[in-house]
């Protein structure tokens, strides 16, 4: 029910909401859970595995039971801010994914600060004050929608808090982020904060962790009944939200804190059951003054009732109640501390794991540091805030602490579980895991909490063990007869669940990855190209005409290149400008073939290998001047090759004078391919003599095109046909492409046709026909491996592994049925191989196409000892049939190279 007065809710702003389609009314300032309690709604959906009745148990992120489906799939009623029209469906343990896209715009911010304070309770606010006053850049983040933390629960120092918040608001360099959870603490004080629709990446010079503590449950028979609630949650519902969860209350505790709950609710509390034989006298005296009976050295053995608690059994006594407030002690919230690599240790004095040693530049204060009295929290906060600011170069002084009586907090007496049926003593309410489950785990020989966790699933549900974790540790300790708990499970981010949409921010859909387009892209789009992603590049794949499918279009494009003329946009090839007096020597050491003596104006195809001898990249290198080369790389490897060159020149051969610059985007490249290529050139570049005699294969010239545009034309071919590559400044790419097309002769072709043409010639594509385990010799490219000079990788060709006769070698495959297309990636076996697993594999298909020139299908493959198998048959067993193919030389078209000169 709602108390007639008190609380921090706004009674003038009623909000309507529904739970399971029944309408209720709450107030602005309520959480869904507090509004439910104010409406007498304590029971939630039954438990996921045993369908036992469950009720709201906590008031924050540690809630195990009160799961609801909202617009977001699985939320806690206790952390959901009430808004008008909220519609909640109670959930038994599992939510349902929503299949409509989330229209919300999520954002990211990257910020640096001097001091990040995590947690806005008394210690955190105190730290932010002393740090902020020095002028340091301070961020104070708290998961609640209002600063104050435990002060709001306990109704203490609210005037001081209001003044402090006003002062922090007024500080120019201090930023307050409420409703913002620090969920991940990474290296070098990199902390991730989740605001509702904004992800913050904070790099802080110092971090003050004031993350508070979690109250622990008590384990006894039927401890999961609705009406059993953490004592601090009861106190928070009453003081902060004026929501009363019960009229006739028993408090069960192992420590001092629950007395505060009892005192605040005095007239409604009949009994305090304290596990300690001698609770602090002052507390007992005060309880008695308020008419509350204190049972010392006692504990609740069993909760009574079916759908809701009706009483408790303490020894021989039964005590009637409709609400049991429990406190099994406190666990400092060391999650972030531990994520930051901080070491924790078990502290007998407070019966909890506490922060021991920091690794990063941080402080941990207040309840997070197992300091539970208010005066102590403020003192630690003030000091840490000032110290943190001083460490970052600011100065200030300690303020006078506001009045808070010094309290001695008496040590707790933990109770891990009781005598009685163990399968009704719940350790993890979310997983319905009991003491009996833990006993099965320890009975099976498990000792470590990590193993017990995985065996029982305790601590693996949505709250990741915030309430259950330590209860399990306690039960294990007692079952094993150990003196003290041995350790916790590992704390990993995120501290609370974070949606993928928030993590992705705007980096989704079109903005997921940058898109690179060539200067001719618009033309390709206008002319119906379908595109293929190559790295971040959009490359034309093929240009279907109306009614054409891929096969038809590609065959047509191939025929054009082989019989007339076709053009391709080759601008995406990586290009590296290499300059310096030692450029030739450097390339000599990197490529498998020689470059030092390449003549100016000439090009050479080269292969790059790793030190282990495996092919890494390939491309054509031009010598532009005595001290200047232009190397092309595969489209996907441009950045890697540049890195590779930088690495070797800087780390191995710093004495070589050579420098590298990426110029990929500076050039647009148009490949003009086919027997009529010269006709196109004669129109586009009429001043250039393109005859075979005067313009030799593998040479280039710097010329001017018909309209005066400077261009570099190279005679290189990746198809076996007569071909010219026109390279122009990227800014002229579109107009030169237009000029080439305006000749009316060429057919545009895309990557698919390029692949077919090169495969017909047996030219490999690095990354498709190779995979990092293939040497030049495996590819049959011994001719490109210089026997005279040394280069990176050369020594590896003498390793026994490099000369194994059963290495996979590149071969051609011709399916016996010329219409059968082998799927790329298909595994190959020898005939008569049994298909009983494991099946001995010979290799796999790397490239496979229909060929217009061959009027049939063909493929390239890597096959063990493949060259020895030429002329023989191999099989590709597929799901529904088997394709037989003949092994051939990996060259299918014009093996004599007669077509190169047109």
């Amino acid at each position: 029910m709602r108390l007639p007065e008190g609380g921090r809710i706004d009674r003038t702003k009623p909000l309507r909401f529904t739970v399971d389609d029944i309408e209720y009314t709450g107030c602005a300032g309520d959480t869904l859970a507090s509004a439910m309690i104010a409406n007498g709604l304590l029971e939630v959906a039954p438990s996921a595995y045993r369908q036992r009745p469950r009720g709201i148990f906590a008031a924050g992120v540690d809630e195990p039971n009160a799961l609801v489906q909202l617009d977001d799939p699985m939320q806690l009623a206790t952390t959901t801010e009430l808004v008008d029209g909220l519609a909640a469906i109670l959930l038994s343990g599992k939510g349902r994914l929503i299949d409509t896209p989330d229209p919300t715009r999520y954002d990211k911010r990257n910020v640096h600060c001097d001091v990040l304070v995590v947690g806005g309770g008394p210690a955190g606010v105190a730290a932010a004050l002393t740090a902020g006053r020095t002028g340091a850049r301070v961020i104070l983040a708290d998961e609640q929608n209002e600063l104050g933390g435990g002060l709001l629960t306990e109704n203490r120092l609210l005037d001081w808090l209001a003044d402090a918040v006003d002062e922090l608001d007024a500080l120019d360099e201090t930023r307050i982020l409420t409703g913002t959870t620090a969920f991940g603490y990474y290296d070098q004080n990199f902390v991730a904060l989740a605001e509702k629709h904004r992800l913050w990446h904070v790099r802080a010079k110092r971090v003050v962790l004031a993350t508070g503590a979690h109250e622990r449950p008590l384990v006894f028979v039927d401890n999961d009944l609705p009406g059993i609630m953490l004592s601090s949650a009861v106190r928070q519902y009453v003081n902060r939200y004026a929501a009363l969860p019960g009229e006739n209350i028993v408090v069960a505790t192992t420590n001092d804190a629950a007395y505060g709950t009892a005192f605040d609710l005095a007239t409604r509390v009949s009994t305090i059951v304290d596990s300690r034989p001698e609770p602090p006298r002052e507390l007992v005296r005060r309880a008695q003054e308020l008419g509350i009976e204190v049972l010392a050295g006692a504990h609740v053995q069993q909760a009574l009732g079916t759908r809701r608690i009706g009483g408790v059994r303490v020894g021989d006594r039964q005590i009637a109640c409709d609400l049991l407030a429990v406190s099994g002690g406190w666990s400092p919230a060391v999650h972030l501390f531990s994520q930051s690599q901080g070491k924790i240790r078990y502290d007998e004095r407070v019966a909890a794991f506490v922060a021991d040693k920091s690794v990063q530049e941080q402080h941990i204060v207040g309840a997070a540091n197992a300091v539970y009295d208010l005066a102590g929290c403020l003192r630690e906060g003030f000091r840490a805030g000032l110290e943190a600011a001083k460490r970052t170069g600011f100065d200030g002084s300690l303020p006078e602490a506001p009045y808070a009586a010094t309290e001695t907090v008496a040590p707790p007496t933990p109770v891990w579980f009781v005598d009685g049926p163990e399968d009704r003593q719940f350790v993890d309410l979310q997983r319905d895991a009991t003491v009996a489950d833990v006993r099965r785990a320890t009975g099976a020989g498990m000792r470590s909490v990590e193993h017990v966790k995985r065996y029982t699933t305790i601590g693996t549900a949505h709250d990741q063990g915030k309430t259950a974790g330590f209860a399990a540790i306690g039960v294990i300790t007692q079952l094993l007869g150990a003196e003290a708990p041995q350790g916790t499970t590992t704390y990993r981010p995120p501290y609370t669940p974070v949606s993928f949409a928030l993590l992705a921010g705007r980096d989704r859909g079109e903005l997921h990855d940058p898109v690179r387009m060539t200067p001719m892209h618009d033309w390709h789009v206008r002319n119906g190209a379908l595109f293929e992603n190559v790295g971040q590049w959009k490359r034309p794949w093929y240009y279907p005409r109306p009614g054409e499918d891929r096969k038809t279009a590609v065959l047509r494009e191939c025929r054009a290149a082989r019989t007339s003329v076709a053009v391709m946009d080759a601008s995406t090839l990586g290009k590296i400008d290499i300059q310096g007096p030692d450029a030739g020597e450097f390339l000599n050491r990197m490529y498998t073939n020689a470059f030092a003596k390449l003549k100016v104006g000439h090009c050479r195809y080269g292969l790059l290998c790793r030190p282990d001898g495996m092919v890494f990249d390939d491309g054509v290198v031009m010598r532009v001047a005595e001290n200047r080369f232009l190397a092309t790389t595969t489209t996907g490897n441009a950045a890697a090759v540049l890195d590779w060159f930088e690495e070797w020149s800087q780390t191995e051969w710093p004495d070589l004078k050579v420098w590298f610059t990426s110029v990929t985007e500076q050039w647009a490249t148009i490949a003009v391919v086919g027997p009529q290529a010269r006709t196109v050139l004669s129109i586009v570049a009429p001043d250039v003599d393109c005859s075979a005699e005067s313009f030799e294969f593998m040479t280039f010239r710097d010329v001017r095109l018909a309209d005066g545009t400077p261009a570099r034309i190279a005679r290189v071919s990746f198809s076996g046909e007569l071909a010219f590559e026109i390279n122009v400044d990227g800014r002229h790419g579109a107009e030169v492409w237009n000029a080439v097309m305006a000749t009316g002769l060429p057919t545009p072709y895309g990557t698919e046709t390029m692949h077919v043409l090169r495969a017909e010639k047996g030219y490999v594509i690095v990354g498709q026909d190779t995979d990092g385990t293939v040497t030049p010799q495996d590819l049959g490219m011994e001719w490109i491996v210089s026997p005279r000079k040394d280069f990176v990788g050369k020594r590896s060709y003498r390793r026994p592994d490099a000369v194994r006769p059963d290495r996979k070698q590149l071969v051609g495959l011709l399916p016996v049925d010329p219409e059968d297309l082998l799927p790329e990636g298909a595994q190959l076996i020898a005939p008569d191989t049994s298909l009983a697993q494991p099946v001995p594999m010979l290799g796999h298909v790397t490239s496979s196409y229909h060929s217009a020139a061959l009027e049939r299908t063909f493929a390239l493959a890597l096959v063990k000892g493949g060259r020895q198998l030429i002329g023989q048959t191999v099989l590709a067993p597929l799901r529904d049939r088997t394709i037989a193919a003949t092994v051939t030389e990996p060259i299918f078209y014009d093996p004599e190279g007669t077509r190169r000169d047109g």
């Binding site: 790099r203 690599q341 030190p611 690495e647 191995e652 020594r795």
Partner: protein, 80 residues
């Protein structure tokens, strides 16, 4: 996310860098003279200590310079 001190650019986020493995493993002066075993050791064998480790990084999305740091592989503290 490590904060890595580039000697040229200062402290930058790890996403700007490429990792280069153990530092101080030079390319052998005359690979041809090495035994298969020694060459294999150069290719494949690296230290993997728990604790301080001298390693190479390249500021590939920044100044493109290679440099070495000493990092604690347990705490990720960058010692120098």
């Amino acid at each position: 996310m490590l904060l890595i001190p580039c000697p040229w650019c200062g402290d930058r986020d790890e996403t700007e860098f490429h990792y280069g493995g153990q530092a101080g493993v030079p390319y052998p002066e005359r690979p041809a003279d090495l035994s298969d075993e020694d060459w294999g050791r150069y290719l494949f064998v690296r230290d993997n200590p728990k604790g301080r480790f001298e390693e190479r990084w390249s500021h590939s999305a920044g100044c493109r310079r290679w440099f070495s740091i000493v990092r604690d592989t347990v705490s990720n503290e960058i010692v120098r």
